[in-house]
């Protein structure tokens, strides 16, 4: 009979608090993750919005190409009309 009582005391004084403590730790950890996930989602959304300007790179690409073509034409003309440097 005494053993029964000892088992009850252990269950109520040791096992139950330990179980509660561990489960509370898991719950607190899960609750702390949730705000971080929200911030990650917000950052991803903002990053995606920032990349909306990426299509402008196609315009930049075309303009760079045109500029280089003009530079090539201008340089080619200068190559024709200006004498080369005399090698010393």
């Amino acid at each position: 009979m005494t053993l029964w009582w000892i088992g009850d005391v252990l269950l109520l004084v040791v096992i139950l608090p330990v179980v509660v403590y561990l489960l509370k730790g898991v719950l607190d950890a899960a609750r702390s993750i949730e705000p971080s996930v929200r911030r990650i989602a917000a950052a991803a959304s903002a990053g995606s919005k920032d990349l909306d300007a990426v299509p402008l790179l196609l315009t930049t690409q075309g303009q760079v190409k045109q500029t280089v073509e003009v530079v090539a034409g201008y340089g080619g003309s200068l190559d024709v009309i200006i004498d080369d440097a005399e090698e010393s």
Partner: protein
């Protein structure tokens, strides 16, 4: 049932209740985390999708820019020489020559010559091409292309010269003729007539030079007031004479303008030489020249 058994059951029940409460709460939190991660994954997916073509586009841009840099570096070195090229670069961007040219590693070891804003060789080349020197690009009139006169002036202005201190815009030289911007009507006439437009048309453009007349009195012409003239005017009115200002003939019979129409100095001129006489040497100059006599003979022959 003994009391100890009841307490045991209650204890187990309490443990189960604690497990249920905390596990359900954890499940709820995990579901929130799952929902949040779904949103984050969607955002990351958009980022990946939108940034996918960036690499290819940027590589193409860099390739084109590399080609431009290669072209400009090569052209500069080819036209100015590596030594002068480094001086020109350092003149534009102080210290840039130390970094050297990308395609010319030896350029890093070159001591860049001091080339200021004036690069004589380039200026002369531009001047020879009739182009504006770079130093004068900031001119209010803008750069001049293919303006030989402008290019020459700018090339000249690169050198110290006292004439550069003169005003930039001197008044233009007066333009004479009927097209002149300012027409000075003659206030006096010392001979001949001032040709009108009909006479200019008849005689040709050269007659326009007479249309400017003479220096007006208000500008110090010879008929200006005495105080405006020099101490010793070269000629007075008595020496220069003046026209009557009228077309009336000075003689009773007047002048027959057609009198000279039949004149033939080549056949009728010269002294009367005796027939058959040997001409004297002193008369040689008085005789008509052979070409004139031949011309007269031809004319007579054609007339008959």
């Amino acid at each position: 049932m003994p009391a100890a058994g009841v307490v045991l059951i209650i204890a187990v029940l309490l443990i189960v209740l604690a497990l249920v409460y905390y596990l359900v709460s954890t499940i709820v939190e995990l579901r929130k985390i799952t929902a949040g991660l779904d949103g984050a994954i969607a955002g990351v997916g958009e980022i990946i999708e939108k940034s996918a073509p960036v690499a290819a586009v940027v590589q193409d841009i860099n390739r084109n820019l590399d080609a431009g840099v290669d072209l400009l570096e090569g052209l500069l070195v080819k036209k100015a020489g590596l030594h002068d090229a480094m001086g020109l670069i350092d003149g534009l961007y102080a210290g840039a020559a130390a970094e050297g040219l990308r395609n010319f590693p030896e350029s890093r070891t070159i001591t860049a010559p001091r080339i200021s804003e004036v690069y004589t060789k380039g200026t002369l080349t531009l001047a020879r091409l009739g182009r504006e020197a770079p130093i004068a690009v900031a001119s209010p009139a803008g750069p001049v292309l293919r303006n030989v006169e402008g290019g020459s002036l700018d090339a000249r202005s690169l050198y110290p010269e006292t004439r550069q201190t003169r005003p930039q815009k001197l008044p233009r030289s007066p333009v004479i003729g009927t097209g002149a911007p300012v027409q000075y009507e003659p206030s006096e006439q010392r001979g001949g007539t001032t040709p009108d437009e009909a006479e200019i048309r008849e005689k040709g453009p050269w007659a326009e030079t007479a249309a400017e007349g003479i220096v007006p009195a208000e500008l110090g012409g010879s008929d200006a007031p005495r105080e405006m003239l020099a101490e010793d005017p070269q000629l007075g009115s008595s020496a220069l004479g003046e026209t009557t200002g009228s077309d009336t003939p000075a003689t009773e019979s007047g002048i027959d303008p057609s009198a000279g129409d039949d004149a033939d100095a080549t056949s009728d001129g010269g002294p009367e030489l005796p027939e058959g006489a040997e001409p004297d040497l002193k008369d040689a100059a008085a005789a008509p020249r052979k070409v004139d006599a031949d011309s007269a003979d031809t004319k007579d022959g054609s007339a008959t």
